[in-house]
């Protein structure tokens, strides 16, 4: 079995928001941060990240500005807007509820044991 899980549809946006919530990041940084916080368990296709970023920009959840990276290269940095922060909280809560429900549904029931 592959130890890297495929992303569920719709979860990329949530992961991006989460990654950026810890501080402004450029695109490659977002990728590294997602790998890092998921313990390298989640695989994000590198190019697919960018349409996601643009989608969140359009929705006004992120804002972007150009700056200089730690490698001393020009890069576009993303950070959360207030709306983005609110959305992250809502989505996280709803994800947790869903995860709990799925987990309990899938957990071994007494009669099965």
């Amino acid at each position: 079995m592959n130890d890297q899980a495929q992303l569920l549809p719709g979860t990329l946006d949530l992961l991006i928001l989460r990654a950026v919530s810890l501080g402004p990041l450029h695109g490659y940084g977002v990728l590294l941060r997602i790998e890092q916080i998921s313990g390298k368990a989640l695989l994000v296709e590198q190019g697919a990240l960018y349409p996601g970023l643009f989608r969140l920009l359009r929705q006004g959840l992120l804002k972007a500005s150009w700056g200089t990276s730690e490698n001393n290269r020009r890069a576009k940095f993303y950070e959360l807007t207030a709306t983005g922060r609110r959305r992250l909280k809502e989505e996280t809560d709803s994800w947790n509820r869903l995860a709990t429900a799925i987990a309990s549904a899938l957990s071994p029931q007494p009669e099965e044991a």
Partner: protein, 888 residues
């Protein structure tokens, strides 16, 4: 708030697309650099690291496109891209593009022109205030309202009209503004004419009822704007000037507004003068109740609340009263009231235009069928491209949108080209003078309505038939098509495009049939027996009233003119007919005549209604009319001699049983005068070519003089003098007799134009439609044949390689299109023959049962097929199997 942000982002994205593109590029480059930095740190060579980083990122272009989409700018952007791509694709197959655009342009153009005519003549009302309830007595139904006393009675006795005005033509009035007498055409109008119409003057004043104080009491004239503009160069000082009309002084009192051109849509007069001056203008009488020539039409606004039916009943009630009071002069007919503007021509014009519109609709249908098969063939040719695009990850939606864009582009191009062409043609029609010297013009001005109509038509037809290939695309299985190639089996199945082609060819054959029938009919009507010989005859129209002649001076002068003409070398015979000769300007006066024993002399009780002509001695010889029995009229048949007449065969047979039996017999006119028949001439046509055989009588012109007449000058064809020379000699002789007399000399054939005009118009229109149909048939068959050849190129190549004969190859390649052509033509011919029954109403002797027409259609369709399949056939024959097989 969020919505606003999003909107701002989208708009920014739209306007800063280039900037966005650059930023995206830079961002992705930055990503690769960072990735490469990491890889380098783990010990990779820089160059290798960068290569690796690029591979890791994946399809950069694809992601950029997705970014655009995510940013919301994709829609507009991709539409532009679609358009750009469509233009490129279409430019790559110019044959298809030109064929499709041209097909559509022709069809749209034809429809727009017919619509323009319809709009100008039928849909658009007269350009006066409140035209909706403006109704007139329908000229031409012989209802008897056409005398001035009748008009006055109707005006004063009816209870339906707010007020009733009347007008008549004042054609060929000599106008002298100081030095050059010129024949002009005006309207003689009742005093209340402008007030009834609620028209306000552009300059000065108009004519009012208060100007009328009995015969010849109102020497005032109002100019139309166009005439004022062309003849007086917009000179505002013209108001108050005195000019001469037929040598009588008239004061110009004003100029009518620019967009008012009288009350007949297709006639544009030069001036308006009071009808009470009828005697000076037309030489007619205002007091003679039976003179049906002094009013053309009376009209007015219906009173509020009065329905058309009530008005008609009211008018007929007045008619009933008049018939009782003046039994000799007035025969009551059921009057028809109609919208002012076209009078009784409305019905015929509507029918004609409706027929034209139907034909134009057929053209459009044929064009659509054509477009459909063009698009279908093209889609099949492109199935490989489409499959490739599908395989490379394009969505079906995107491909459909692409096809749609192409269809819209072609529709727009075709529509615009069609509209431009039709506007040019309509402009030309608007300034066209169909009949030289007559003030007739078609009031067609293309406007926004026309453009909208044409564009909608173009888009609907383009989209409908541009979408024919959609099914093919939706069904396409990329894997199969790419694997198998585009070659399909030559199916025996009847496909949709086969049906389209047959329908199209059938429609085209209908059009070709109708136009051939019409042309044949016209040719035959030119050749038919008119009862006179228009060739080698010159007509000189002289109105002595223009020169101030009256009373006994009129016939005396006319005799001098006739004698003068006879002295011209090469002239064989000279005669004169009062008013108009037969078949000119659809003029013709019918009168009531009675058998001698009939004593109840009311119009309603007449035995027959022959056309009445007043002619000079030698008229029949000059006109080329054969005298069947008896004698010609002579100079002795003068004012005081007994009343005599020459009648035509139809008259003689109807009244007296036979030609010879009519000689010496008597009949009675409405006034009670007994007339003796002294001669019988052959039958002829008198008013229109399509009329059934009518009776006619010819009275001596000396017994009923008239100042307006035509001289008929017969030229001896063997004398070697052409018409130009004789016409010049006639002009100089007439100038010697009276310098100031305007004369109008033309050949009789030219004069006939007026009666041939409807048939010519119909023939011209049908000819154009037939040509359009033929062109569409060519493109349709060509498209089908070319497509069939190109699809089966490989198969044909193999056949050739295996030793097939050229003839067999040709049969394989073109058999199907030709079979379809035959099927379509047969169907079309049948339908065409049915349709031409309708034509017979307009075109004289239009009969489909004419072997020449039948062979003509067959030959024409065969030729079309030949022309259309020539190029594909050549292509099929020039196949080189080796080259072909190598290419595949």
């Amino acid at each position: 708030m969020r919505f606003l942000d999003s909107l701002r982002f989208r708009i920014a994205a739209l306007f800063q697309r280039e900037q966005m593109r650059a930023e995206m590029e830079e961002e992705l480059r930055s990503h690769i650099q960072h990735r490469a930095d990491d890889l380098e740190r783990s010990g990779m060579e820089r160059a290798e690291a960068e290569r690796r980083a690029r591979i890791d990122l994946g399809g950069k272009e694809k992601y950029k496109e997705e970014c655009h989409e995510a940013a919301g700018s994709r829609f507009v952007h991709s539409v532009l891209a679609d358009v750009r791509f469509a233009v490129r694709v279409l430019a790559k197959s110019p044959g298809f593009t030109v064929a499709a655009v041209l097909t559509l342009a022709l069809a749209i153009g034809a429809n727009a022109v017919v619509f323009g005519l319809m709009d100008g003549l039928i849909l658009r009302p007269l350009n006066v205030p409140q035209p909706e309830n403006l109704y007139g007595t329908n000229y031409g139904d012989n209802s008897g309202w056409q005398s001035y006393p009748n008009y006055k009675d109707l005006r004063d006795r009816n209870r339906s009209f707010e007020d009733l005005a009347a007008f008549d033509f004042a054609l060929g009035v000599g106008m002298d503004t100081g030095n050059d007498p010129q024949a002009t055409n005006g309207f003689a109008v009742s005093g209340n004419y402008f007030d009834v119409l609620r028209v306000k003057p552009y300059l000065g004043r108009l004519i009012h009822a208060s100007d009328e104080r009995g015969p010849n009491s109102a020497p005032y004239v109002v100019l139309t704007y166009a005439f004022w503009h062309s003849r007086f160069q917009d000179d505002r000082g013209v108001v108050g000037r005195t000019i001469l009309l037929n040598q009588h002084p008239y004061t110009i009192v004003g100029v009518a507004p620019p967009r008012f051109q009288g009350t007949l849509l297709f006639v544009s007069p030069d001036f308006f003068a009071p009808m009470v001056n009828e005697e000076q203008l037309n030489g007619g009488s205002l007091t003679d109740r039976s003179n049906q020539g002094s009013v053309f039409e009376s009209f007015g606004h219906l009173k509020p609340g009065v329905t058309l039916a009530q008005a008609v009943a009211d008018v007929n009630a007045v008619g009933g009263y008049l018939e009782k009071t003046y039994p000799k002069d007035f025969a009551q007919k059921n009057t028809v009231l109609s919208r002012l503007g076209l009078t009784s021509f409305r019905a015929r014009a509507s029918a004609f235009l409706a027929a034209l519109m139907a034909l134009a609709g057929l053209i459009l249908l044929a064009a659509c069928a054509n477009l459909g098969s063009l698009f279908a063939a093209r889609a099949a040719d492109r199935s490989r491209e489409v499959a490739l695009r599908l395989a490379l990850g394009s969505s079906r939606k995107r491909i459909l949108r692409q096809l749609l864009t192409e269809a819209v582009l072609i529709s727009l191009a075709g529509g615009v080209a069609g509209v431009l062409g039709s506007v040019a043609l309509l402009r030309k029609l608007n300034t066209w003078q169909p009949i030289a010297g007559a003030p007739i013009h078609l009031p067609v001005t293309p406007d926004a309505k026309l453009f909208v109509f044409a564009l909608i038509l173009a888009l609907v037809s383009g989209l409908l038939f541009g979408m024919v290939p959609v099914r093919q695309v939706l069904r396409a299985n990329p894997y199969e098509i790419v694997k198998a190639g585009a070659s399909a089996r030559a199916g025996r199945r009847v496909t949709a495009s086969d049906v389209l082609l047959v329908v199209q060819i059938a429609i085209c054959a209908v059009l070709v049939t109708s136009s051939l029938v019409a042309v044949r009919g016209l040719m035959r009507s030119l050749d038919s027996n008119f009862g006179f010989e228009p060739r080698n005859a010159l007509m000189a129209g002289v109105n002595l009233a223009m020169g101030g002649y009256s009373g006994d001076r009129v016939p005396a002068m006319q005799r001098r003119m006739i004698d003068a003409m006879k002295t011209i070398p090469g002239v064989e015979a000279v005669g004169q007919v009062n008013g108009y000769p037969p078949l000119a300007y659809t003029a013709g006066t019918k009168v009531s005549v009675f058998k001698k024993e009939n004593s109840d002399l009311r119009s309603a009780n007449a035995d027959i209604m022959p056309f009445r002509y007043e002619v000079s001695p030698d008229y029949f010889e000059a006109a080329g009319t054969t005298l069947l029995a008896g004698r010609d009229l002579s100079w002795q048949d003068s004012k005081n001699a007994p009343a005599v007449a020459v009648v035509n065969r139809n008259f003689a047979v109807k009244m007296f049983g036979s030609v010879t039996g009519a000689l010496g017999r008597e009949y009675k006119l409405l006034e009670g005068t007994k007339v003796q028949v002294v001669g019988v001439v052959e039958d002829g046509k008198y008013q229109v070519l399509t009329e059934s055989q009518q009776s006619a009588m010819f009275l001596p012109f000396l017994q009923s003089p008239a100042s307006s007449a035509y001289m008929v000058v017969r030229i001896n064809s063997k004398a070697g003098r052409d018409t130009e020379q004789v016409a010049a000699a006639m002009r100089s002789k007439l100038r010697d007799l009276d310098r100031g007399l305007p004369v109008d000399i033309e050949t009789w054939t030219t004069l006939l134009q007026t009666v041939l005009f409807p048939a010519q118009m119909a023939t011209m229109a049908l000819g154009v439609m037939g040509t359009l149909g033929a062109m569409l048939a060519i493109t349709g068959i060509f498209g089908m044949a070319a497509y069939s050849v190109s699809r089966r190129l490989r198969e044909l190549g193999i056949r050739l390689a295996l030793g097939a004969q050229r003839r067999e190859v040709l049969r394989a390649a073109l058999g199907r299109p030709l079979k379809l052509l035959a099927a379509g033509s047969t169907a079309g011919l049948m339908l065409g023959l049915l349709a031409t029954r309708v034509l017979a109403f307009i075109v004289y002797q239009a009969t489909p049962r004419d072997p020449l027409v039948l062979t003509g259609v067959v030959v024409a369709m065969g030729l079309l097929g030949l022309v259309a399949t020539l190029i594909p056939a050549q292509r099929a024959l020039s196949i080189d199997p080796m080259v072909l097989l190598r290419e595949e």
